[in-house]
């Protein structure tokens, strides 16, 4: 009985131990959500790999991260739509597609745009001709979206442009990065999906349809300034450490003095070493002299030989 209870308790504990990190992780994830970039669509993937029905040039975003879903109940959402307009070198902007997103309202009052989807309108013949002309003259292809998506006033647009020659690859590849502060669009960075070569060559796409990739970006949080309480206590030491100006080693700075000095010292040393030696030598020489004196006949005999 007690054993069973014990086992039951340990089981409960085990379950708790298992669940706790998950729960923490889950809480942590929902916290992170606000700060994370939300990515939809294939970023940088080869569009040719995706089979595309020719009848439907509209490409909707394909994938989204499942773990981005906030805990249910913490927010309610509604759908918003705003249109993309483009300018093909003419004087006026014309509609080119529609963005659809979900607007999430948070319990703490904030709102964020999520789940962005984009559908491009097919290029009309006229637009295609205009685009060709843009390609020929290396002009700018300009797009715009309203900055306030909830109630577009028709005044404030966020505009972005790219040289038209950057776009064509197999099809017309475009890449949107939409910077938002939750609900307002601050900027749209529009460009080609990959790199744009510099000298820009005139090249027509094989397919006159757009392949679009969209990324929604919120701002990052700055890392907090590190604070060291313990270092503040012995701050003097650390400060003294930091205070020291960049210094070369002593040798690097004063080698020009040290080398000659070393020479002098060496010389002096050798002299100091030599002199006693000489004295010794002199002593020796005197003894040698004695020796010489003792044995002069041999040398003289040698010399005389």
């Amino acid at each position: 009985m007690s054993e069973g209870w014990c086992r039951g308790r340990s089981l409960a504990l085990f379950v708790l131990v298992i669940l706790l990190p998950i729960w923490i992780a889950r809480g942590f994830q929902s916290d992170e959500l606000l700060q994370d970039d939300e990515e939809f669509g294939l970023e940088g993937g080869r569009p040719a790999a995706d089979p595309q029905p020719p009848t439907n040039p509209i490409r909707s975003p394909i994938r989204r991260r499942p773990d981005l879903d906030p805990p249910s109940g913490s927010a309610d959402s509604k759908s918003v739509q705003f249109s993309l307009e483009h300018n093909l070198g003419a004087s006026e902007f014309s509609p080119a597609g529609t963005f659809t997103a979900r607007l999430k309202s948070w319990s703490h009052g904030g709102q964020t745009l999520t789940k962005l989807r984009f559908s491009r309108n097919a290029l009309t013949e006229e637009e295609k001709r205009a685009f060709e002309r843009l390609l020929k003259e290396d002009g700018h292809y300009t797009i715009r979206v309203p900055s306030n998506v909830l109630n577009p006033s028709g005044e404030d647009y966020v505009i972005s442009s790219v040289r038209a020659r950057c776009i064509p690859r197999e099809s017309l590849d475009e890449h949107f990065v939409i910077h938002t502060d939750g609900v307002n669009i601050i900027a749209v960075n529009y460009g080609s999906a990959g790199a744009c070569q510099y000298p820009r060559l005139l090249r027509y796409p094989a397919k006159w349809s757009f392949t679009s990739y969209t990324v929604l970006k919120n701002s990052e949080q700055a890392p907090r300034t590190p604070t060291f309480a313990e270092e503040l206590l012995d701050g003097e030491d650390g400060l003294g450490e930091g205070v020291k100006p960049p210094e070369k080693s002593f040798w690097a700075k004063y080698w020009m003095y040290l080398v000659p000095l070393g020479f002098i010292v060496m010389n002096a040393m050798t002299q100091a070493m030599n002199m006693p030696e000489e004295q010794q030598v002199a002593g020796q020489s005197t003894s040698q002299g004695q020796v010489a004196q003792r044995a002069p006949p041999t040398t003289t005999t040698v010399r005389r030989r």
Partner: protein
Amino acid sequence: MGSSNLRPRTAMAIWARLGFVILLLFFSATLSTALYEDQVGLADWHHKYIGKVKHAVFHTQKTGRKRVVVSTEENVVASLDLRTGFIFWRNVLGKNDHIDQVDIALGKYVVTLSSGGSILRAWNLPDGQMIWESTLPVSTPSKSSLYVLANMNVGKDNLILVFGGSSIHALSSMDGQIVWRKELSIDSLEIQQIFQPHDSDIINAVGFVGSSEFAVYQISYRTGEVMQQSKASFESGFCGEASLVFDNLVVALDASKSSLVSISFKNEVINFHQINLSDLVPDFSGKVTLLPLKFNGMLAIEIASSVLLLRVKGPNELEFVEKISHPFAVSDALPLSKEQQAFAILQHDESKIHFKVKSDNDLRNEILQETIQMDSQRGNIEKVFINNYIRTDRTHGFRFLVVMEDHSLLLIQQGEIVWSREDGLASIVDSTTSELPVEKEGVSVAEVEHNLFEWLKGHLLKLKGTLMLASPDEVAAIQAIRLKSSEKNKMTRDHNGFRKLIIVLTRAGKVLALHTGDGRVVWSVLLPALRRSETCGNPFALRVYQWQVPHHHAMHENPSVLVVGRCGHGFDAPGIFSIVDSYTGKVQNSLILEHSVSHIMPLPLTDSTEQRLHLIIDAKLQAHLYPKNSDSLKHFFNEMPNIYWYSVEIEKNKIRGYSLESKAEPDTAEEYVFQAKELWSIVFPSESEKIAVTATRKKNEIVHTQAKVVADQDVMYKYISKNILFVATVAPKAAGEIGSATPEDALLYAYLIDTVSGRILHRVCHQGAQGPVHAVVSENWVVYHYFNLRAHRYEMSVIEIYDQSRADNKDVWKLVLGKHNLTAPVSLYSRPDVMVKSQSYFFTHSVKSMAVTATAKGITSKQLLIGTIGDQVLALDKRFLDPRRSVNPTQSEKEEGIIPLSDSLPIVPQSYITHSLQVEGLRSMVTIPAKLESTTLIFSYGVDLFFTRIAPSRTYDSLTEDFSYALLLITIVALVAAIFVTWALSEKKELKEKWR
């Protein structure tokens, strides 16, 4: 030292070692980096200024007789020596603390009223110490005035009256306590004048109620009680201007500003008399303004372009005295004796100024009449203050303190300029530099060093000096010559590039060339285009740019600078364009543009005569190309598709990017005008963000290497783009002063934006941070300074941005064989692949401005220059603001020079480049690279000017000035001697060997 085992045979070696140690000690003493006391002033100079004088008060009592107290438009209160013009003391008030009035109380305090009549301060007259400060509760800042009661007995506590709007404050002049306060509780009362009838305890206040009523109050001096009040209305109304003529007579202008109304009041009876001006001036038409002339019985009115002096004989009687035409200046009244008053009229006539002093006894004739010659570069006369003294023959003498159009201040006495101060230099708007001419025969720069006679004279003087025959004056002259001919003050280019001309543009529209050696003015010119004229009523100076820098094509020509200004303060006001020779100050070309000036873009292009191409964008977003010649157009068309520009619209919270497109057919007048095409825009949501600051890299900055070798032999490539724009936005709630918002409301966003494509490269949010934000961008990093509300401290953040698209170029072999993409052209239309590193540190000071050092080749490491709140310049090594600092750097990181992480940035007293000096009112710091790679020149300006040169990594490429050549020489001599000695010794030894 081991002396125990000292043996005679090693004595010499030990002596050598001892000498070595002594030498070591000698060297280690010179290791410190900071400046020694005797090195101050060798490479730096500091000039003190005060700005354009608004008010001047002469002190009449004995000790203060040598001084004049002035207040200026730069918010400076200063006491100047009347004999020399030197500053005895000066106090610089805050940026928004404009001085309304200055006066002397009790004969020992200087009293200033500032901040729209809300702050009253007293300064000690001899030394400028603040005695007391008093804040007055002023509900609405209005025109306020100060009235110091003067006729009380000395020693008794006099009252100082401050009046503005409908309230009067009386303060004790001893301690600044408010004695009484009276709200003359009628809405819209504007007190015009307060005065005290002779020897009474009553003060009178007169003013207007609304636009048609006139009111007189009699107030008790002791308590502030209203003893008597009377009001009367005048049907045609007043315009608000009035002048007190007598104790019971005020002359005002009526609402239409076309006729005078004399108002006499006595014992609650107010009478109005309308005076028709056409009786006095037969051909009168148009509008009149009253000039403030505090002179009993006199009135000065301005009609069209001339001024009439009128004498008031009675309420209904005006007498015409004199007509003065522009330009002119009239001083306030100066009491000569109890009954007699005098005032001065100065009139400009071409290059002469006529001085007239009149007294009220005899207005037809002058007491004094003088004429002096005036330098035309000082412009017209603007203001005059008059002071008298007793001459040796017991008559009255007068001295005049004159403020000129270029903001300079002169003292004139006995028909001579006693001293002058170039105080326009306190309000520098912009600056640029120019190289000096190359040293060769026949080079002449404004003042040539010497002609033959001067040369001979100089040598004669020097000879006298050496023979001890020179008088003190001559000694001073010799000193001056020495200073002038000393290396650093020459008027030619030097090898190290330390000698240059700093060309500054002041707010008065004057261009001055300062020599970097000692800061003297080489030439100055008051630009005619920036002077007030018929066509341009309110001109003001904007910027100065290098226009022509002779290089190889046009070496024989002098360099020149371009000065751009604007006629009036509106953005659509026409622009002003002036080209000035950098060596002589001669105006080469000057014109008023047909279009306005909102942006000026110097292009990195020059035409065949080396004139720099400039694009001027007007308010209608049209770009105008200068210089207007076909050659420049040709160069421009080549580069036109690659020219992009952007504009920051702070009010609309937007940044827009543009390219240019040709508008008109060639060979028309519109040939040089281009249309802007909007390429991108960034809209900051106005409810959550507000642009606080923008910063870009300096156009002429040179980056030596694009790769950065990090610890483990790894390479990171800097994202180096000239088109990086840093923008900081703050939450509108927290846009006010620090403390006005809670940390939850405060947000600071930092953006890095590419200005060609409009891409946001990086966006980061600092929570709980608020402005004021200061930022500096250089190479691939940005450093910005703001306040952290959570930590209650200032913070500095660094963002470094690296290019990941080149990150695979790490293989040395690839680099050697040239198989890398480092030289491939980069298009900003490509999607950037960047990596960002950032870090924040606490910083103790608040900051006035920030800059970064710049060197000729960009090899030398950088230092940040921080203008502190104490008006000093602090040099902070960029290594402290390295985002890669960590708590425990690895060995390889340590070798790379990474400092262990600390939470705050160190402030080392020795790293203040201004050492003990203060650059009062510091506004900006300009760094100029010298030719010597290690050194950078720094010119900082505010009210004062300060110039110095610093070497952020020390002067590794040249010997320092304190390098001991003697020691080097001794070493060499010793070496040579040692060589000979050892040679001789070894010869000897060899000989002995041979003799063995």
